[in-house]
Symmetry: C2
C-alpha cells in the first residue's frame, strides 16, 4: 500500500540524511508491492522521493514526468536542499517556461539507486539496519522506469501528457515509450541514445575503478565504517565532466589561460584554469553525491540497450506506437552524438511513429541540455503547445 | 665530459633497475655539462639512455632522430627489456622499412623525466642517495630537446637528416625545428600539435589526480617508502587509453560485446569486453612505467606551446626555416585532431617553409601512428626518399 508524506528538510548531503529522510515528497511501497527488477531480484519496501510543480487538472491529463540524468535529482525547479542551488532545469520548467507549470503538472522522482531519498545503496537495509552498500541489487533503466510507473499509478495518473529528459533522463523517456506506449502521449528524449556506446561504457568503467581504488571505499561499506571515498569519487567526476563539455567549448572558456599568475609555476599545482575548474567540479560533487550510487547509476546506463530485447531491431521496439516524439541533439555533444539520436529517429520512422527531430548548433557539448539554449527552449515550447492543441483542441 | 657505455640488461621494470642501470646505451654528462632547464634550474650530472639502429655514414649525415611519445622509450625497433615485447615502431623502423636502417642511422633516446634510463624522478638524487621523486625539477618539451641535442653533439652529429615522431614525439620534432633549424634537414611531426589543448590538459590532470589520490603515492616518495601507487596509475592509464582510440574504433572492436557470458551479470565485475580490455591496459601499464614519470611527462606536454614564445604567432617560430616538413594526421584522432596539424601547416606556409601534409583516413584514433597504417608507411618512405634525392642526388 503506497503512502505519501512530506518530511522536513534534512538540510544535509547525499549520504547524510537524504537517503532515508529526504526533504521532498516520499511515496512508500510496502512488502506487498515489491519493485520487480530485471536481475530477477526485487526491492521491498521501496521508497521514492519526488517533487511536483503546478496543479494536476481534474481529469489528470496534464501531467509531465521529467526524468533526471546521472547525477541529477527530483529538484527540477526549486532549490536543491543539499547544495542550496536552484533546481537543475529551472530554465525549462516553471511558470511561463517551456514546460509551463501554469498549465502542466510536473512530476520528477529521484531514480531508484540514487541518493536523494529514493531507495539506493545508501538507504538502510531493513534486513541488517545498516546501509545497503553493494547488497542492493543492481538497477537498470527499465527498473527505474518501472518504479516511476508505480509512483505515477499511486498519484492516480493514467496517461502522462509528456515524458521528458536529457541524457540518462532521455534513456528513461525512450524506455517509457517502449514499456508503456499507451501511457505516454508525447515523448521528449534529449541528448540521448538507444543504448550506451562502447566508449561511454569505457569512461564509466574508469570512474568506477577510481572509486573502487580508493581505500576509503571499503568494498562499498564506507558508510557503516565511517569513511568516504572522496578522492576516488572526485577523480571519477573529473573524468566524466570532461565528457560533458566539448573541445571547442573548453577552448573558448579556458584556452590555455593560467590560474592567477603570469607564467607557469613549474609544479603540480593547478597552473591552468581548466585544472582548477576540474578540481572544483570534483570536490563539490563529493559534497552532494554518494559514491555507491555513482556505481549503480553508471551501471544502469551501461546496461541500457533497447534493441537487445527486440532481436537487435530498434524499430520493432516502437512498432504501433501512437506517442508523438520530439528528439533533440547538440552538434558538439560527443557523449551522445547526433548519430545516436538519428538512430532513434530512423527507427521511429521505420516503425511509422510520429517524430520530429532537431539538431541544435552549440559548442557546449553534452551539458547543453542543462544550459541556456534558446533553440532548445523554443523546440520544447513549440512541441508541447502543438501537442496540447492536438490533445485538447 | 660525456662518456658512453653499454650496460648489461637489467631485465626488470621501470622502477626496478632501468632508472639507474638501463639496458641500453647510456651517455653521461658530468657536473661541468649541466642540462639548463626552462624553469631556471638545471640537472647535473645527467644521464641519457638511448638506442641506435643502422650505421652512421662517414660524413655523419644519415642520422635520423626518432622521438618517443608519452609512455614510449628508446626501444624503437628492438625488444623492450622490461616488457619483452617488440619495439614500439618496428613497423616503421628497420631494414627495408619506411625508415630504412640499411640506409639511415637511427637514434632514439629516453626523454629526460622518463623512467627507462634517462634521468627522471626515479633516478637516484646524488644529493640524498634516494630517488629524486618530486625533487627533480619540472621538465618541458624544450628541455627534453635540449638534452637530445647534447646527445647528438656527443655522438658527433652536426645535422640530423630527419627528426621524426608522433604525439609527444611530434611536439619534440616541432621544437627541434624551431630551436635548431639548421640542424634539422627534414622534420616529420605526426599526430601532434603546436600546443596542448585545454581538453588535453584536462585529461592529463585527471590522470595526475588519480595518481596523487592513491595513498601509496606517499607525496611522491613511494620508492623510498617501498610502496607503489599502482591503482592510481592504472586508473590514469585507463582514462588516457580511451583518448588514444576513437568512438568508431571502440565500437568496431568491442561494440557492447560481453565478456565470456551470454547476458549481463548484474554486478560490478567486467561485464563488457571493453571493460576488461581497459582494466588490462591499466594493470599492464603499471608493470612498466613509473608513476612520478607519468606526472612529469604529462606536465611537459601540458606546458608545450610554441607560439607563446613568439608573441602568439606560430608562423614567426618557423620564419626563415629551410627544413623540409611532412605533417601527418589521422581522421579519427580526437586527441590531436587534424585541425592541430593544419595549424602547423598554415604557419609553415605563412613562414615560407617547405611543407607537405597528409590526413590519413582511419578509425583507429590517435594510436594509429603506432599501428599498421599503410598510407602512413608510404608517406614516410616517399618523403624520406625524395628528401634523400634532394640531399645526395
Amino acid at each position: 500500500m503506497a503512502s505519501s508524506r512530506h518530511s522536513l528538510p534534512a538540510g544535509a548531503g547525499a549520504a547524510r540524511g537524504e537517503a532515508d529522510t529526504p526533504s521532498s515528497h516520499v511515496m512508500r511501497f510496502g512488502l506487498d508491492q515489491p519493485l520487480r527488477l530485471d536481475s530477477g531480484q526485487s526491492i521491498a519496501p521501496l521508497q521514492i522521493a519526488y517533487q511536483t510543480y503546478g496543479t494536476l487538472n481534474a481529469d489528470r491529463s496534464n501531467a509531465i514526468l521529467v526524468c533526471h540524468a546521472l547525477t541529477g535529482d527530483q529538484h527540477v525547479a526549486s532549490d536543491n536542499p543539499v547544495t542550496g542551488k536552484p533546481g537543475w532545469w529551472e530554465t525549462v520548467v516553471g511558470p511561463g517556461k517551456p514546460i509551463d507549470t501554469d498549465r502542466f503538472f510536473v512530476v520528477c522522482s529521484n531514480v531508484v539507486g540514487g541518493c536523494m531519498g529514493s531507495t539506493g545503496p545508501a538507504s538502510t537495509n531493513p534486513a541488517t539496519g545498516q546501509p545497503f552498500g553493494l547488497d542492493l541489487p543492481l538497477i537498470t533503466i527499465p527498473d527505474m522506469v518501472r518504479a516511476q510507473a508505480m509512483l505515477v499509478d499511486a498519484l492516480g495518473i493514467d496517461q502522462l501528457f509528456c515524458v521528458a529528459g536529457g541524457s540518462m533522463g532521455g534513456m528513461q523517456v525512450l524506455q517509457w515509450s517502449v514499456a508503456y506506449p499507451e501511457r505516454v502521449f508525447t515523448a521528449l528524449p534529449i541528448a540521448t541514445g538507444p543504448r550506451h556506446s562502447s566508449q561511454n561504457i569505457a569512461f564509466h568503467e574508469v570512474g568506477r575503478q577510481a572509486i573502487m581504488a580508493d581505500p576509503d571505499w571499503r568494498g562499498g561499506r564506507y558508510l557503516a565504517e565511517g569513511t568516504s571515498p572522496r578522492k576516488g569519487l572526485a577523480v571519477a567526476r573529473m573524468a566524466a565532466h570532461i565528457t560533458y563539455m566539448s573541445d571547442e567549448g573548453l577552448h573558448r572558456k579556458f584556452g590555455r589561460a593560467l590560474q592567477d599568475r603570469e607564467r607557469v609555476a613549474f609544479g603540480f599545482d593547478a597552473d591552468f584554469q581548466v585544472e582548477s575548474y576540474l578540481r572544483h567540479q570534483g570536490l563539490s560533487f563529493v559534497e552532494r553525491f554518494d559514491a555507491n550510487s555513482y556505481l549503480y547509476v553508471t551501471r544502469a546506463m551501461d546496461y541500457f540497450d533497447i534493441a537487445a530485447d527486440y532481436g537487435g531491431r530498434l524499430a520493432n521496439a516502437f512498432r504501433g506506437s501512437r506517442t508523438r516524439f520530439c528528439v533533440a541533439s547538440f552538434t558538439s555533444d560527443w557523449l551522445f552524438p547526433t548519430i545516436e539520436s538519428k538512430t532513434v529517429v530512423r527507427a521511429l520512422n521505420a516503425s511509422g511513429a510520429s517524430v520530429s527531430f532537431v539538431e541544435i548548433e552549440t559548442d557546449r557539448g553534452h551539458d547543453a541540455f542543462l544550459l541556456d539554449e534558446p533553440v532548445l527552449f523554443a523546440t520544447i515550447r513549440g512541441f508541447l503547445t502543438s501537442a496540447a492543441a492536438a490533445r485538447w483542441g
